[in-house]
Amino acid sequence: MANLKTNEKKTKAQSMGLHTEVLTGKTQQKFFNPDEAENFFYWGTYDVDFNKRTDLDVHEMDCKDANRKIDELMSQGYGTIVIKNPQGKHSLGVGILNKLNLIFEGSLGYFGVGSIDGPTVRINGRVGWSCAENMMAGKVVIEKNAGSCFGAAIRGGDLICKGSVGARTGIDQKGGTIIIGGDAGAFTGFMMQRGRIIILGDVGINLGDSMYDGTIYVGGKIGSFGSDAVESPMTKSDIDWLKRKLRVAEIGENFDFSKMTKVVAGKKLWNYDALEPTEKKGAI
């Protein structure tokens, strides 16, 4: 990595007129340099082999040690890692930025598998608050229930809970799909900006409160609509997409889509450039 503080010779980027000042600070020193090959790789990622499998018992580990060990195993090429005895520990499996089959044999505490970008995760248990927060890509399947703030601010990927979830699911969601097999609590889709939420059961009060964009599908009863959340007619495209998505998620088989309610932003609260509606973004 270029150390711009001590680099007397101009880099190619600087020769092009960019950033000729001496930059300091850790973040600034990671400034992109097109001459250096390492900048074309995602830092902190590994090439792993899905057929290379191992178990990791985290019973006696704290979350830092467990996450370090997962990182170490990935660096050794393990592509399928089974975590034993997670026992509700917080922040397990966070920051994984490469493809990986990660299986938890038990429940997670807060902030499980947060900030991930790529792995396929199966949790044979329950998850606490803020599971998969800031997820960028990948797939996470939870076999039991989830706590509040499920999928907060996710950007992409599929996040599936086969049980029920707490309040504020998909708060600040910016992309991806959240699928709930059971019920969801209050303020689901609060301030969501893009992406889709599917709830097969009932949902609590203030659904979609202050949502900017995105779509929420509800199979059961709705406690109440939040500010600027409105019902929209279900289309054939919606139903086709839902069928496909639920089939991949392996839940909601034989679900009656005609009972579903589609909820979108009324756009009365919009206070930014009206040239950016969903239909112009091309896809959610």
Binding site: Q87, G88, K89, H90, G106, S107, G109, Y110, G125, R126, G128, W129, K144, N145, A146, G147, S148, G163, S164, V165, G166, A167, R168, D183, G185, A186, F187, G204, I205
Partner: protein
């Protein structure tokens, strides 16, 4: 942020002192300014057990002042004389720490009059009064308080506890949870959250003759519920009314001689994880609290917004 935990054994007794210690210690990262236990032990139900303090354990940030042990002795003498005046007989007396005492008392008259008289002694506060309940609270984490008061062998049916990070009031025992539901015997409350209509409610309740010993907003819940029950409401009715009567974000537990309840505000802003079975209900701010008593894989869930539940022993 604070952490709360509670459990109830249905149909049997267990070592609730040790179990609650494990649950609260698992939540120590949520606050270790003070820790409190409300333990519902196995007693013959004849006498009242009064836990009270005659002084403070004071830490940095406290609104209380350090005092000499001789001041505590003087207060204890006055309490003893007042008990005689009230017609209460001390059956057993334990001075656990210079400022913390436990009395077993024979008494069969009005508890409000009793409490007012005892607490008229400056610096004296009844932490709990009941035939089953004992509230023990002090500065430090769950393990430290458990060791200081030898709670690890306490047998009972149910218990609630609190690991406190002081935000709204001082670091002292009077601001620590659980709060006793004065003037009802055997009622205790722990709370995680903030109440925003504390002063309005407090003024109204004080006008009705209720007492507050601290400026901790959580104390309001105990007093609020006690006043509701005093007016004839059941515990569950009072708890349901609290969802609209109390403003702010909260999850709280309340326990009586034979029941344990939980309530969660309509914003669902404060965490709670719940495990229910026929024999045992265990709940806490985080799943790791429950895991300290149930390490095996279990089914737990987050109660929804506005939920009130009460379990009997």
């Amino acid at each position: 942020m604070c952490g709360i935990a509670g459990l109830i054994h249905r149909g049997n007794i267990s070592n609730v002192g040790s179990e609650l210690q494990g649950m609260l210690q698992a939540l120590k990262h949520r606050g270790e300014d003070s820790t409190g236990y409300a333990l519902y032990g196995k007693t013959d139900g004849k006498n009242f057990i009064m836990r009270f303090k005659v002084g403070e354990n004071v830490a940095e940030g406290s609104s209380s002042i350090k005092e000499d042990v001789s001041v505590y002795d003087e207060r204890k003498k006055i309490v003893d004389s007042y008990l005689l005046d009230l017609g209460a007989k001390i059956v057993k007396e334990e001075r656990i720490l210079p400022y913390s005492l436990r009395y077993e008392i024979e008494y069969d008259k009005d508890l409000m009059e009793f409490s007012k008289k005892i607490e008229s002694v400056p610096g004296v506060e009844i932490l709990s009064l009941g035939k089953s309940l004992e509230v023990i609270k002090d500065l430090g984490n769950a393990k430290a308080v458990c060791e200081r008061y030898s709670l690890d062998k306490v047998m009972g049916t149910h218990a609630i506890g609190h690991a406190r990070m002081a935000t709204e009031s001082g670091v002292d025992i009077k601001s620590a949870h659980p709060f006793w539901g004065y003037p009802f015997s055997d009622v205790s409350v722990v709370h995680n959250g903030q109440l925003t209509n504390y002063w309005n409610n407090r003024r109204g309740l004080e006008n009705k003759g209720m007492r507050f010993m601290s400026e901790c907003d959580s104390e309001l819940i105990a007093v609020y519920l006690a006043e509701k029950m005093r007016s004839g409401a059941t515990l569950e009715e009072g708890m349901k009314e609290s969802l609209t009567g109390l403003d702010g974000v909260f999850t709280y537990f309340v326990a009586t001689k034979d029941s344990l309840g939980m309530a969660k505000d309509t914003m669902a802003a404060k965490p709670l994880v719940l495990y229910e079975s026929d024999d045992l209900v265990a709940m806490g701010s985080e799943e790791i609290a429950i895991r300290s008593v149930l390490p095996q894989e279990i089914d737990t869930y987050d109660p929804f917004d506005g939920m009130v539940k009460v379990w009997q022993i």
